[in-house]
C-alpha cells in the first residue's frame, strides 16, 4: 500500500499550485518550506507587479497562499529543510530539520519546487559596477522600489530623468557559463519600463538589448505598448561598461543600428539579472540523487513531452528549479507534476 501523502518541497508559486491541485483531487499534501513564510521568490524579493498582466504580485501570492491555508488536506511546515531520504516510489522516508527539530516525513511521491535565485551581478563579464555605484541596481531592486511607490536614485533620493536597462546580465554568456536565456527578463524589463514611464512621465527610459524576447502574447501585451504607448527607447546594442561621470553614470555600448560606439549619460542603470538554480535546488537534487544539468538546474527526462519527471522514479520537479521559467510555465508544470505524483501513488496502491 502506498503512502497517500505527497511531499512538496518549496512553497513558491509552483509548490502552492501543486498543493492546491493535489488537495482538490482528494490526496494529502505535506508542503515543506525553508523560509518562515510561503510565497517563494515573488514574496521574499518583494515583487511589485506580475508580468504580463500587471497584477499586484502581493495580492496574487496572497490568493495562492489563502487557497491552501486552513486546508485540512495540506500540512504546511515552515522553517523546514530536507536533510536526507530513503525508500522508493510509494514509500519515501524523508528526513528534515523543522524549526530546529529532526523530523521524519513519509510520502508516496515527491515534488521538488525549490525554484531559482537571481544572478549576482558581481560575476558579470562586463564592467557594470554594481558593487561600486549606488545608482546601478538590478531588476530585483527595481521591483522593490516600484512596490514602495518611490522610484528614485539611490545616490541622491531624487527622481531620475534618464533610466537605462541592460539585458542579459548573467545569461547568454559562455564566459560565465550561463549559456542559456533566462526567458523572463525581457518581459520583466519592459514591464518595469512601462511602470517607470507611468510613475515618472518626464523620465526617459532606454533598454539596451541583444535580442528582445517576448513570446506569444507578451509581444502585443507588453512590447508593442512599451514602444507605442509609453515611448520606451529600445536600442539594439549591449552596454559593456557603466562608468561614473560627475554626478551621473555613463553607459558605454555600441548602437549597432548606427554602427558606432556610443556613450550615453544615465541617472540610473538597471541590470536585468538572469536566473540560476537556487541553493535549495542544488542541495535537494543531491539529496534525492536527482540529476542536474551542467548549469545546476534539475534535469527533466522527457524533453518537450514531459517537463516534470526526473531520473528518480516518484520524484518530480516543477517550475524554476528545472530551468528559467515564467509564472505561466510554473503554474502549468505544477499541474503536470501533481498529476504524475498522484499517478505514482495510485499505481503502487492499485495492483495491476
Amino acid at each position: 500500500m502506498a503512502n497517500e501523502n505527497i511531499l512538496i518541497i518549496g512553497g513558491g508559486p509552483t509548490g502552492l499550485e501543486a498543493a492546491k491541485g493535489i488537495a482538490e483531487l482528494g490526496y494529502k499534501v505535506i508542503l515543506a518550506e525553508k523560509r518562515d513564510k510561503m510565497g517563494g521568490t515573488p514574496v521574499s524579493a518583494g515583487y511589485a507587479a506580475l508580468t504580463p498582466d500587471m497584477r499586484d504580485a502581493g495580492d496574487a501570492m496572497q490568493e495562492m497562499c489563502d487557497a491552501i491555508e486552513n486546508n485540512p488536506d495540506v500540512k504546511i511546515m515552515l522553517n523546514t529543510e530536507i536533510t536526507g531520504t530513503s525508500g522508493e516510489p510509494g514509500n519515501f522516508m524523508v528526513k528534515a530539520k523543522s524549526n530546529g527539530n529532526e523530523v521524519d516525513i513519509e510520502a508516496g511521491a515527491v515534488i521538488i519546487a525549490t525554484g531559482f535565485t537571481h544572478f549576482d551581478p558581481g560575476r558579470e563579464t562586463q564592467k557594470y559596477g554594481y558593487y561600486e555605484h549606488d545608482d546601478v541596481i538590478t531588476i530585483v531592486d527595481a521591483e522593490k522600489l516600484l512596490k514602495s511607490g518611490t522610484f528614485v536614485r539611490p545616490s541622491t533620493g531624487e527622481k531620475p530623468n534618464r533610466v537605462a536597462f541592460i539585458q542579459c546580465v548573467g545569461s547568454r554568456d559562455r564566459q560565465i557559463g550561463n549559456e542559456y536565456c533566462s526567458k523572463v527578463c525581457c518581459g520583466i524589463t519592459s514591464k518595469q519600463a512601462i511602470e517607470v514611464r507611468e510613475l515618472l512621465p518626464g523620465c526617459k527610459v532606454f533598454i539596451f538589448y541583444i535580442d528582445m524576447r517576448m513570446y506569444g502574447y507578451w509581444e502585443n501585451e507588453i512590447y508593442w505598448p512599451a514602444q507605442e504607448k509609453h515611448k520606451v527607447n529600445y536600442i539594439k546594442g549591449m552596454g559593456t561598461e557603466i562608468i561614473k561621470k560627475g554626478d551621473g553614470l555613463i553607459v558605454k555600448g555600441e548602437d549597432t543600428t548606427m554602427r558606432r560606439p556610443m556613450e550615453i549619460p544615465m541617472d540610473m542603470v538597471i541590470l536585468a539579472v538572469g536566473m540560476e538554480p537556487s541553493e535549495g535546488t542544488k542541495q535537494v537534487a543531491d539529496i534525492f540523487g536527482v540529476n542536474k544539468n551542467k548549469f545546476g538546474f534539475i534535469e527533466t527526462t522527457g524533453g518537450a513531452l514531459n517537463t516534470v519527471s526526473t531520473n528518480v522514479d516518484g520524484v518530480f520537479a516543477a517550475g524554476a528549479c528545472t530551468g528559467p521559467s515564467d509564472l505561466e510555465d510554473c503554474i502549468s508544470a505544477a499541474g503536470s507534476a501533481a498529476m504524475k505524483a498522484i499517478s505514482t501513488i495510485r499505481k503502487v496502491s492499485i495492483p495491476v
Partner: protein, 395 residues
C-alpha cells in the same frame, strides 16, 4: 533622505567563491602534463606570497630567486623603469638574477606586424623560461605585453599538443627542455605583494598626492583569470593592481570615466600610424584624467602604456590640448617613496612630460638632485669613471 528598501553600493558586498570559478585552474593540466613527461614545470620558490585572482584562485607570487625577464622598450627608452625594479629588490636584500641570456619576448613585433607564427613565439618564450630554469631562478616578467603574451603561449602549449610537439623539437635542437612556469608573474604583482614592506620603509610622505591609475590591457583583459583582485579594492570588480600599491603609499587614487580604456599603444600604431596613438591617448585618457581628477601624476605598469601616455602629450601640447600629467611606473613610485634618487635611480630625464612640479610637490629639491646626477655624468664624460654603479646611485 527617504529610507529606501534597497541597498547602496557601500552596503553591497561581493563574495567570491573559488568553487564558482568559470575556468579551471590551468596548473591542474600543467602538472598532469608534467606527470606524463610532456614538459617540466618551474615551481614558484618557497619564499612567496599568495594573492587572490579574479575568480578567487590564490596566485603564488615569488619574492626572491626571481629571474628578471626584461622589457625591450623599457630598457631601450625608459631604463629608469627597469632600474627601479632592480633597486627595490636590492633594498630588501633579495636574491635576484639580471640575465644576459635573455631575448625580448618578441610579442611587440608579433602584435604589430604578425611577421611570426605561433611556433616561433612559443619557442622564444620557452627558450627564455628554460634559461631561467637552468640557473635555478623563477621568471618575473617586466612588461605587460610579454606578460599577456606568455600567458597566451602557456595556455596554447597546454591545450594544443601539435604546437607542443613542434616546440619540443625546437628545444631539443637548442639543447633545452620544454619548461613552463607554474605561474606567469608580472613584476607589478611582486610590487603589490611587497607593498606593506615598501610602505614600512617609506621616507617621502605622499599623502598630498593624487594619482590616476591606468591598468594595462594585456594585464587584465587577456586571460582575465590571472589578474589580481582584492575585495577591499573596487569591491573586487576591477583589478587591484597598481591601485593597491599606491594606496599603501598613502596616495589618493582618483577615478575617471575612461579607466577601462586602452592607452592607444597599438603596437604597430605607436611606431607607424602615430596619429592614432597620440590622438587616442590624449583625448581618451590624459584629457579625461585632467578634467575629472587633475592628478599630480598618472601611474601605470607597462612599457607600452608609459611610452604612449608620456610621449603623446607633446603633440597634445602643440595643439593646445589640456595635457601635462607626468607619467611613471608603479615601481618608480615605490622606489621614490623609499627615497630613491629621481635621476640616478628613477632616471626621470628619459621621461617626456614635465615631472619636476610633481617632484617639487614632494619636497624634493629638483635642481640639487639634477646636479648630483650631472656630477656623475661628468665623471663618465671625463673618463674618471667608466659607469655609474649602484653604490653611486645611492650615495
Amino acid at each position: 533622505m527617504i529610507h529606501l528598501p534597497i541597498t547602496k553600493a557601500s552596503e553591497r558586498h561581493f563574495k567570491i567563491d573559488p568553487n564558482d570559478a568559470p575556468v579551471k585552474d590551468l596548473r591542474e593540466e600543467l602538472f598532469q602534463l608534467e606527470k606524463e613527461g610532456e614538459l617540466e614545470v618551474i615551481r614558484v620558490p618557497d619564499n612567496h606570497v599568495e594573492l587572490m585572482t579574479k575568480y578567487g584562485r590564490k596566485k603564488k607570487i615569488p619574492i626572491d630567486k626571481t629571474w628578471h625577464h626584461k622589457s625591450c622598450g623599457q630598457c631601450g627608452h625608459i631604463p629608469g623603469y627597469s632600474t627601479s625594479i632592480f633597486w627595490l629588490n636590492r633594498q630588501f636584500g633579495l636574491d635576484y638574477y639580471d640575465p644576459t641570456d635573455q631575448t625580448s619576448c618578441t610579442a611587440w613585433n608579433y602584435y604589430a606586424s604578425a611577421t611570426s607564427n605561433p611556433e616561433a613565439q612559443a619557442a622564444v618564450a620557452v627558450r627564455n623560461f628554460a634559461a631561467a630554469h637552468e640557473v635555478g631562478y623563477f621568471p618575473l616578467i617586466h612588461c605587460g605585453t610579454s606578460f599577456g603574451h606568455y600567458k597566451e603561449v602557456r595556455h596554447a602549449l597546454v591545450h594544443q599538443h601539435d604546437l607542443r610537439r613542434k616546440v619540443k623539437k625546437i628545444m631539443e635542437r637548442l639543447g633545452k627542455k620544454l619548461v613552463l612556469p607554474e605561474e606567469v608573474v608580472h613584476y607589478s604583482e611582486w610590487v603589490l605583494a611587497m607593498k606593506d614592506r615598501i610602505a614600512e620603509r617609506q621616507v617621502i610622505d605622499m599623502s598630498n598626492i593624487t594619482a590616476t591609475v591606468h591598468p594595462a590591457c594585456h594585464y587584465h583583459k587577456l586571460i582575465e583569470e590571472d589578474a589580481i583582485y582584492d575585495s577591499e579594492i573596487y569591491g573586487a570588480q576591477r583589478t587591484a593592481i597598481v591601485t593597491g600599491t599606491l594606496q599603501a603609499l598613502g596616495i589618493n587614487v582618483g577615478d575617471y570615466s575612461t579607466w577601462f580604456d586602452c592607452c592607444g599603444f597599438g603596437f604597430r600604431h605607436i611606431l607607424v600610424s602615430r596619429d592614432f596613438s597620440r590622438s587616442f591617448s590624449v583625448q581618451r585618457k590624459i584629457e579625461v584624467m585632467k578634467e575629472e581628477v587633475n592628478p599630480d601624476v598618472t601611474v601605470t605598469h607597462d612599457t607600452g602604456c608609459v611610452t604612449t601616455l608620456d610621449q603623446s602629450q607633446f603633440a597634445g601640447r602643440a595643439h593646445n590640448r589640456k595635457v601635462g600629467i607626468p607619467v611613471m611606473a608603479d615601481s618608480q613610485m615605490a622606489a621614490l617613496a623609499m627615497g630613491a634618487h629621481p635621476y640616478k635611480v628613477l632616471q626621470l630625464h628619459w621621461h617626456n612630460t614635465d615631472n619636476k612640479p610633481f617632484l617639487r610637490k614632494l619636497g624634493i629639491d629638483v635642481e640639487k638632485v639634477w646636479s648630483e646626477f650631472q656630477a656623475e655624468v661628468d665623471k663618465i664624460k671625463s673618463g674618471e669613471k667608466k659607469f655609474m654603479t649602484w653604490e653611486d646611485a645611492d650615495k
